[in-house]
Symmetry: C2
Subunit: 197 residues, 2 copies
């Protein structure tokens, strides 16, 4: 950030009164420009196969970063939406999939890139899905077929691992209901873009 979006004059970094953090402050109109983390909302789309085994829908990315790698449908929550609405919209956009019985499943803070992932479990409606504009492929996977070495984002890998662990516990009746997993994900340094605007 170099200029004030209210008046077009230069901004400077300063700690405002009653604050303890450096903020961008306009040298002319004195507007303080706060910068805050963004929510990435997505889904873990599930369906019971004809073989009696529950499957997970993954999307192969048609965009950078991580072109050609697999992920869950997810993207930035927009103004005017609820978190669920954002998760459903992203699922529709990336996988043309409709979901019901949505339940918040994982909340992952990524403090190094100022993002919070919020992933909802949901049941695929009508066994219907196909690649949206940002996906090359959409495919159902059994746990043992998940392409672990071709996953786009570790934060998604971690959510899937939590889910398969929970599912095993539930099969063994050690888990009465799925709990929300609230985790912190430390992004490897090599992926950090420190050029904050």
């Amino acid at each position: 950030m170099k200029y004030c979006n209210q008046c077009g004059e230069k901004v400077d970094q300063a700690i405002p009164e009653n604050d303890n953090r450096l903020r961008y402050v306009c040298v002319s109109c004195e507007t303080i420009h706060y910068q805050n983390p963004n929510i990435v909302a997505g889904t873990l789309p599930l369906i019971m196969g004809d073989d009696g085994r529950e499957k997970v829908l993954l999307c192969k990315r048609a965009i950078e970063p991580r072109y050609g790698l697999w992920t869950l449908p997810a993207g930035f929550m927009e103004n005017g939406e609820t978190v669920e609405a954002a998760a459903l919209r992203e699922s529709q956009e990336e996988a043309n999939v409709e979901l019901d019985n949505l339940k918040l499943y994982s909340v992952m803070s990524m403090p190094q890139i100022n993002q919070v992932y919020m992933i909802f479990k949901g049941d695929i409606v009508g066994n219907s899905f196909s690649p949206g504009i940002e996906s090359l492929e959409t495919q159902l996977f059994d746990e043992e077929d998940i392409p672990w070495s071709e996953m786009a984002f570790n934060v998604i890998t971690q959510t899937l691992q939590c889910y398969f662990d929970d599912r095993k516990k539930q099969h063994r009746s050690q888990l009465t209901d799925y709990q929300v997993h609230n985790l912190v994900y430390q992004v490897p340094k090599k992926y950090l873009n420190t050029d904050k605007t």
Copy 2:
């Protein structure tokens, strides 16, 4: 938003390619300025009283909006934090209270004002608390003493109501563990500030 924070030229509203929403786009450098919801992180601080009854800590606001009304410690999550770290920081700042055993308890989308509240249950450490700079008072309340008619924010009232309901169910053994409540809160029109920057 009137000016580009990258180059200082004017912004215009336009739907960028491969997008379907109006964004602020710089007429000169073509930077797209996305606007996204903010997370408000806070806590529901709990302590078992000497009378064997669990109490909730509330803060009386020393700042606008809702000066003089009661609320839970909460505030905007900052860049570089996890959601929990933000909730703990706000609790420290507003009530000089330290908490442990933090568990995500409610997630409330407020689409009309582009906020998502995330409130964590936590146990007060050392029975120690006092008003921070943004609070006039901090006080422990039994359920029947909660000043329901003097609460600052309906979203906080709703979280407290969920909690007392859950606690009753747990006493009756109808609830094995507290679940996360994921709710949508519709802000009454009179509170809406539509002057988005």
